[in-house]
Amino acid sequence: MVDVAFQSSRTAAAQAGRRRVGLRNALRRKSMSAFLMTLPLILLIAILVIYPAIYSLHLATLNKAMTKFVGFGNFEFLFKRDTFWLVVKQSCIFAISAVIFKALIGFIVAHFVHNVPANKQRKWRGMLLVPWVIPPAMSTLAWLWLFDPSYSAFNYTLSFFGLGPIPWTGDAMWARFSVILVNVWYGAPFFMIMYLAALKSVPEQLYEAAAIDGANWWQRIWYVTLPMMRNIIAITTLFSLIVTFANFDIVRILTAGGPLDHTHIFATWAFRVGIEGSDIPLGASVSLFMVPILAIAAIFILRDITKRGNES
């Protein structure tokens, strides 16, 4: 009795052990466990990124009620609307000028921070990065209040110099300026941090050699700093171009596209048309116009990254 029971339990244990070994062997096979580890990532990207991207191509070919295939009908409709061309123009103005100013201000501020003695840099860097840390939706509310038509704190201050009142969000040109200003305020710290990291990686000997050769500060920047930082400048600018082009929060909260649709960019107009106007196919078509610019920027970034990968 005892013997039998013992034997049977031993065979069961052996079987279980073999099964466990089999499982363990399968898991030990590198490719199998690696695949299992990346499976959630692959599923997430496939279902919630790639599928919707393709789905939006499909949506863009439907009519408003999403019952009929209209081919390029939505695009033809868009091309005939003045507002669409206004949005294209404003998106380009917004993204390009904001990125240029962010890059310039970031570069200048990074140099100033780099000039300061090392033990004080931390404090300055900490203060200058605050705009980047605050959620943009929250900080844009503060800007909206600073730009308020009747209680604007800026106009109050300007009135002491005999200037203003400036219609910050009421006039088309000023509203365009305001959304760009807020975007520069928000994005410049990112450039500053990236450039500061790049500046620190430039070897000091290069500057010493340049100084011995009699280079002035401008020549030092042009012939030493910029070539050494070229890679990081390119990649930061392209990144920023993508994000600025796709910006939503700042324009939505500050002007909601107004006055008279003059500050709408692709994302805000797609929201207005697609969600608020419940014309989902048209909204999808509008947002698809962002793809070419994003794709070009992405290709250049990727080329840069693979180049850097090969160098190292």
Partner: protein, 303 residues
């Protein structure tokens, strides 16, 4: 005192040597001057939030000097922190962010480990794909995603639109690619000898990950966690599209849709809400600034 120093610097100006160090001093002074200007520019909006949040509504509408508080009061804070609606937004935001951070880490750390160390068929392509996914902005995907979840609700009867937990499915599309990408970078920088030694000692892949890689790459892990939290806390477009009932809203959308009623702006409360909404990221940043910056520069974050 100042007269003396001016007299002293007078003669040295004519002497040629020593000009280098004087250039340096002036460069330093100009640096401080401009840094102060830029710091003021950076800090005006948060400072103004604070100033306004301490004002009563009477003082705001009196249009006195906007840069100063004459009668500081905490009434805005008390009103918001005792309003169930506002606390609900806060809890929704907190829950969404914490769960999304957990999901993100559970997905991206093993994936990054596999992509960094276990070369398998298509691993290089997948790593590039992850990076490309990170470049796809939210404003491109919100319309198809919204329609997708609506159709999903029609088919299965599981209504996800206008529930706060729909955000748990959507936010990982923003956080996972970036976190995976920077974790690949951190894991790849760990010397190969370390995990080879572990494998020789009989450790499984899972043990190598938990006993070797996670402790060694802890700074990267913290940076990725901070990033995931900040992104989910600050996200505005997706909750604006997916949630509309006031009890399902997260903080940024809640403040904007409930405190702005038509053309009536209750600025004292809006600024208080904005400041409270900005507080968690700011507090994290204040204590973990170095990790924050490491994450920023490691993967070239969005700007």
């Amino acid at each position: 005192m100042s007269m003396v120093t001016i007299d002293k610097s007078g003669p040295t100006r004519k002497v040629k040597y020593g000009s280098m160090s004087r250039d340096r001093t002036w460069a330093l002074r100009w640096s401080y001057f401009f840094l102060t200007l830029f710091a003021v520019f950076s800090l005006v909006p948060p400072f103004y939030m604070l100033i306004t949040s301490l004002k009563g509504s009477a003082e705001i509408s009196a249009a006195t000097n906007p840069w100063w508080v004459y009668h500081p009061t905490f009434e805005n804070y008390i009103q918001l922190l005792t309003s169930n609606q506002f606390l609900r937004f806060f809890w929704n935001s907190a829950w969404v962010s914490i769960i999304v951070v957990t999901i993100t880490m559970l997905i991206s750390v093993p994936a990054a480990f596999a992509l960094a160390r276990m070369k398998f068929w298509g691993s290089a392509t997948l790593a590039t794909g992850v990076f490309l996914t990170y470049l796809i902005p939210d404003s491109l995907l919100f319309i198809p995603l919204f329609k997708m979840f609506a159709v999903f609700g029609d088919w299965t009867g599981i209504q996800l639109v206008n529930r706060w937990y729909v955000l748990l499915f959507i936010y990982p599309t923003l956080t996972v690619p970036f976190c995976t990408w920077i974790m690949i970078g951190y894991f790849a920088s760990i010397p190969k000898e370390l995990d080879e030694a572990a494998i020789i000692d009989g450790a499984s892949w899972f043990q190598t990950l938990t006993r070797i890689f996670i402790p060694v790459a802890l700074p990267g892990l913290i940076a990725a966690t901070i990033f995931a939290f900040t992104v989910s806390w600050a996200q505005f477009l997706y909750p604006l599209v997916f949630t509309t009932s006031t009890d399902q809203l997260v903080l940024p959308v809640g403040i904007i849709t409930t405190l702005i009623k038509g053309d009536v702006f209750n600025w004292g409360q809006i600024m208080t809400g904005a400041l409270l909404g900005a507080a968690p990221p700011l507090i994290i940043y204040a204590f973990l600034m170095d990790y924050y910056i490491a994450g920023l520069t490691a993967g070239a974050t969005k700007g």
